[in-house]
Structure formats: structure tokens, C-alpha cells
Amino acid sequence: MSTIETKPDGLIDRRTFVDHLVANRGDDLCIVAGLGSPCYDLKAAGDHPLNFYLYGAMGGAVPMAMGLAAAQPEKRVMALTGDGEVLMGLTGLAAAGAEGLENLIVVVLDNERYGETGQQTTHTARGVNLAQTAIGLGYRAVRDIKTPDEAAELHDWIKTVQGPACAVVKISAEAAGMALPPQDGVYLKHRFRERLLGVQPR
């Protein structure tokens, strides 16, 4: 398990944070990663059959994790997403809060930027607070994370917290580089279902 580092701007380094978050995860955790940097971070931490990476469908990570969590109440299900995707899909964040699934965790990597499109600022750079939003949307447990020490606690928190839970982690806007996971959606689907359900593609 790596140490969570900070960048020269004093904010959390996304890559070492995600690596720490999912270290030694095992098969009890299923992860849906939103398009862009959350996918690269998760891939860099180590590919796994129970990772589902979105290369598009912006806004889909949280509602997709919701459907998965409802189908698999014995598993922990995490949506690993960014501030840009959550802002596009606030309705999905609301639906998952309202649905009240105890095994659903949303982790938002908040760099206040649209990283894929040229680092334009998002609303979180202009006063929108997603942790406060999650409280208002009915999340039972909400963490507003600013330091590496706080971020390190999430490794155990995601395994034990009673959901729906949401952690908003302020991270450095410094780009971490691409680490590309498989892009073939049919392959990702089949390997996920084979690992989780033991079913072969027909």
C-alpha cells in the first residue's frame, strides 16, 4: 500500500490516493469508474475483473453503481467518479441517495476541473460544495476530505460504512497521465459477470 502524497500545490495526489483506497481489495468490492481520469487512476492502481470502466456515458457511473448495488446487496459497490461527471449527473446522485442502498459508496475525485477537455474549471471551483450536496441528497455518511491523513481513512471506511455513503476528496488539478484500461465494453461486461456470477457469455 503506497503512501498518499501531495502535489506542490499542497493538495492530494490522485494516483497515490486511489492506489491506497483500493489496495488489497479482494472480490468483495465492485467498482464502476467514470470516464476520464477516474478510469486511469483505477487502472494504474491495478486492473481487476470487478472494475467496470466507462469510456463515455458521462453521468452514468453513479446510477450504474446503484443498479449494481441493488442487484448485489452482499457486495460493496463503489462509484469512483469526478466532480465533472457528478455535476452532469446530479440526478443520478440524488436517485442513489433516495434509494438508500447500504452497500453503495460514491467517491468523488474533486479537482475542480474538466480534465479531459483542457482543464476548464467546474462549478466546484466557484463555490459549489458536493459534500454538502450529498448531505442534502440523503446520503447517510458523508466525508469531506482535504488532507492525506483524512484520505487514508477511506481505505477502511469503504469496507465498513453504512451507505449510501459519499466521500468528496479534494485533489490536485495536476494531471497524472493516462493509464488506459481495456476499452472493449462487451469484454469488460463479460469478464465482470464471469468473475461475479460465474456465468459464461453465450
Binding site: C30, V32, F52, L54, Y55, G56, A57, M58, G59, G60, A61, V62, P63, M64, A65, M66, G67, L68, A69, A70, A71, Q72, K75, G89, T91, G92, A94, A95, A98, E99, G185, V186, L188, K189, F192, R193, L196, L197, V199
Partner: protein, 184 residues
């Protein structure tokens, strides 16, 4: 059969088809035409009604359901189809089975001119997105069409839609005195 009994019967036929197919998650944005079906879904054992506020979230939710081994179905109104377009890329690209049941507005006897644009283009939008569409115009069409749409989606890992015509569903009544019997 009274008109009400006939109106209930085809909606119940959809519910029966869901049960027979083992549909476990029904994601929906409400529509007056689906009111009875939504209520039955909420009351059913072994079926979870997933309320979402916009239709694209239902598409993503049901992809997650299938990833987790559960079959799903989507209920919405034709005006909601416009909200699904980009999220349908998730279903199409990954070949997630997705049967959708869409009550039509903007056609037979529509009073509200603002419904026309989306109603008149619903099927074309769906077909451009790769969704196979089947229309139901009469109560007798419903049961078999719904079963075909579910089977095709799950056997073929594809996306299907049953368009329930406004002539079948009933026309929303407007008057200056307030909403009519078929109010949302």
C-alpha cells in the same frame, strides 16, 4: 369488459410478462399511462421499482443491474426518450440488454402542442440509436409484443422498445378548470 377493465387488463399483461421473464428491477420516470404498472411494481415481491428523475439514469441503472445478474425493464414517456440518447451508447457499446416500454404523447388527439416535437420523432431517435421498435395500437397487441421485446433484448443482448400508442393509452384531457381524469 368495461373500458376501465380493458385499460387495466393490458397494463396487467405487461406486469405479468415482467414476472414471467424474471424482471427484478423496473426503473422508471413516471407517466400517467404507466401509473397502474408502477404501483403494481412497487407492491410486488421480488421486483424492485427504481425511481429516477431523468430517463438516462434508468438506462445506466439497468446496465448496472445486468452487470450484477438481474434483469431490468425501463418505463417512460416518449418525451423522456430525448434524455436517453447519449446514455444509450452505454447499452449499445457494451451490448447490455434493455427492454423499454414507452407511452406515447404528441400523436392521437394530443392537446398540448409542446408534446408534438418529441412524440413525432421518438421512434426515429430510438432507431438512430440502434433500438428495435415495436408499436402497440390495440389492447390485444400488448401481451405478445411485450414478451417479444423482453425476449429479444435478453436473448440478443440488444435494446428494444415497445411504443404504446396514445390511442391505446388514452389522451390527456385539458380544460380551463384544471387537469382532467388522466392527470399526471
Amino acid at each position: 369488459m368495461t373500458d376501465q377493465a380493458q385499460a387495466d387488463a393490458w397494463r396487467d399483461a405487461i406486469f405479468d410478462a415482467f414476472q414471467d421473464a424474471g424482471i427484478a428491477q423496473v426503473a422508471y420516470v413516471p407517466d400517467a399511462g404507466h401509473k397502474r404498472l408502477i404501483e403494481r411494481t412497487h407492491a410486488a415481491n421480488g421486483m424492485r421499482a427504481m425511481s429516477v428523475a431523468t430517463e438516462e439514469d434508468a438506462v445506466a441503472c439497468l446496465a448496472g443491474a445486468w452487470l450484477g445478474g438481474q434483469k431490468g425493464a425501463l418505463l417512460m414517456q416518449s418525451s423522456g426518450v430525448g434524455n436517453t440518447i447519449n446514455m444509450l451508447s452505454l447499452a449499445k457499446t457494451c451490448q447490455f440488454p434493455l427492454p423499454m416500454f414507452i407511452t406515447m404523447r404528441g400523436e392521437w388527439g394530443e392537446f398540448n402542442s409542446w408534446q408534438m416535437q418529441m412524440g413525432e420523432t421518438t421512434q426515429a431517435h430510438l432507431e438512430l440509436s440502434g433500438v428495435k421498435c415495436y408499436r402497440c395500437e390495440t389492447p390485444e397487441d400488448v401481451a405478445e409484443t411485450v414478451r417479444v421485446a423482453i425476449d429479444q433484448a435478453y436473448n440478443g443482448n440488444c435494446q428494444t422498445a415497445v411504443l404504446l400508442a396514445q390511442k391505446l393509452v388514452g389522451t390527456k384531457k385539458f380544460s380551463d378548470g384544471g387537469l382532467g381524469d388522466n392527470k399526471k
